[in-house]
């Protein structure tokens, strides 16, 4: 009878934190073209050189590729075969590089009348929720701050379903994993908020902003930076 009471300490000893293992998500195996910079602001009459890089399915850079450059609005932004962008008139245009099979993301070009009104280079993307139970709305904006380091900010209409341990990650693909950069805990599940980034983070290092529930490894929402 006395031994029956040993049940309780035995149960407590069972309550240790263990380790679970999962297979990493495979790297996204598709070819792509990366264009830098990913957004440009120029004055009328100014020229800027764009650079395109072809990356194959294995993630290797392929040299000696002939790209075709296209401007959505040649009256505002002209682009040469060598990727030299010219500001021709006030307004906005999108420019992308392509090969026979692969098209880059479009980069936004803003052309202003004079150089003093140039806007800083930015990247932005709209948040999308995981499913009906994990809503995520609003826009993520990545742009230089006052000190030159990048700042990640969310728009006034930002909203994500409340959850435990929500943190922000920057990632090269749409899932947290090796190579992701943890920014820190989410400040609020709604409304505008800003996160200063380390000075070593460059505008083109990451393509996704993820709102991730760290304790349970579930991504509530994501925004692809364009």
């Amino acid at each position: 009878m006395r031994n029956v009471w040993l049940i309780w300490p035995a149960l407590l000893l069972a309550g240790c934190v263990g380790t679970d293992y999962i297979a990493d998500a495979p790297a996204q195996g598709v070819s792509r073209i990366d264009v830098q910079p990913t957004s440009v602001a120029v004055a009328v009459g100014q020229i800027v050189g764009l650079q395109a890089v072809f990356i194959d399915e294995a993630g290797q850079v392929v040299a000696d590729i002939d790209f075709t450059w296209t401007s959505s609005n040649p009256a505002v932004a002209g682009i040469s075969e060598a990727g030299v962008l010219s500001g021709l008139g006030e307004g906005q245009a999108y420019v992308f590089a392509s090969t026979a099979d692969v098209v880059s993301d479009s980069i936004l070009v803003g052309v202003v009348a004079d150089a003093e009104n140039q806007v800083a280079a930015t990247r932005a993307g709209a948040f999308v929720g995981r499913d009906d139970n994990h809503e995520n709305r609003g826009t993520a904006l990545l742009q230089p701050g006052m000190d030159g380091a990048l700042v990640l900010s969310f728009s006034d209409d930002f909203y994500v379903t409340a959850g435990p341990g929500l943190e922000i990650f920057l990632a090269t693909q749409d899932a947290v994993g090796p190579g992701s950069l943890g920014i820190g805990p989410l400040q609020s599940d709604r409304g505008a908020q800003a996160y200063p980034l380390s000075g070593s983070v460059r505008l083109t290092d990451y393509n996704w902003v993820l709102i991730h529930c760290v304790p349970f490894n579930i991504t509530f929402g994501k925004a692809r930076l364009q």
């Binding site: 009878m1 309550g15 679970d20 379903t161």
Partner: protein, 283 residues
């Protein structure tokens, strides 16, 4: 009915009463039922609000609790439930082959949410008893864990139940059922709670109870209140659980119980079998 027959029937009714009643019987004045229990819930299959399975790191909840029923009067019983120690663990999650740590792993310890209630016997026939019970949730647990590993929900809910107990004499068995409405606060949805059980005595020292328990939320919870992570103190929950409990009288006044429950129709809760063990006595 002659006094001798009535007296014999009452003795047999008491003998057929469940060792841990949840079915409407009240305790005699000045007498009580006391139970110390331990429960383990451990799993990694969370079901979201649509019932979809989501794999999470292994989540476990270990609870040590006391449960007391004490007869204030023959028809009025005081009920207390107190999880005196609760430990919640969440496993570390590591990717392979990268070694990337997706989840750091965490554990919290503390007291859990308790309950304080009264059961009032409304009517008693020869083999049947009907009672009403009012239970107040005691928000003693911690509901401020950023990780969501909450030991409580932080709200003082009130649950009103109608309870029924019925002896199957001359068979050594009984059945019980209850239906309750749980009024919850702080953004948590109200919910219906129902229980059913059938128990039998197997010889002098062994007893078996089959339990069924269900929770059905009105799904009106505030969208900003998710409750605890992994469904441990979650909002808008729904489930139906069932399982056996075996009891053994280890001494004249001490009973050892061992039970397990599993669930169906899960919403916002962890899909995991629970294992419980308890020691109880009547005084």
């Amino acid at each position: 009915m002659r006094p001798l027959t009535l007296g014999l029937l009452l003795v047999l009714l008491l003998a057929a009463a469940p060792p841990a009643t949840a079915s409407g019987w009240t305790q005699p004045q000045g007498h009580g039922f006391y139970k110390m229990g331990a429960q383990i819930l451990r799993g990694h299959d969370f079901h979201d609000g649509q019932g979809r399975s989501v794999q999470i790191p292994t989540l476990a909840q270990y609870t040590l609790s006391t449960y007391v029923e004490y007869g204030l009067r023959d028809n009025l019983t005081l009920i207390t439930y107190l999880p005196v120690f609760e430990r919640i663990t969440l496993n570390r999650l590591e990717g392979r082959p990268s070694g990337f740590v997706y989840t750091r792993g965490e554990a919290v310890n503390g007291i859990g949410d308790g309950e304080l209630g009264l059961r009032f016997r409304l009517w008693q026939g020869a083999a049947t008893v009907v009672s009403a019970a009012l239970n107040l949730g005691l928000a003693l647990g911690n509901d401020e864990q950023a990780s969501g590993l909450q030991t409580g929900d932080g709200e003082w809910n009130q649950r009103l139940e109608l309870q029924l107990g019925h002896s199957l004499y001359p068979a050594p068995a009984w059945i019980g059922a209850s239906l309750g409405y749980d009024h919850r606060l702080r953004g948590y949805a109200d919910r219906f709670v129902y229980n059913a059980e059938i128990g039998t005595h197997m010889g002098q020292r062994w007893h078996l109870i089959l339990h069924a328990r269900g929770v059905r939320s009105l799904d009106e919870g505030a969208d900003t209140v998710r409750g605890g992570a992994g469904g441990l103190a979650a909002n808008d929950q729904r489930y139906f659980s069932f399982g056996p409990e075996v009891l053994f009288d280890v001494a004249a006044d001490v009973t050892l119980s061992l039970g397990t429950m599993t669930g169906l129709d899960l919403r916002n809760t962890l899909s995991a079998p629970s294992l419980s063990v308890g020691l109880s006595t009547r005084r």
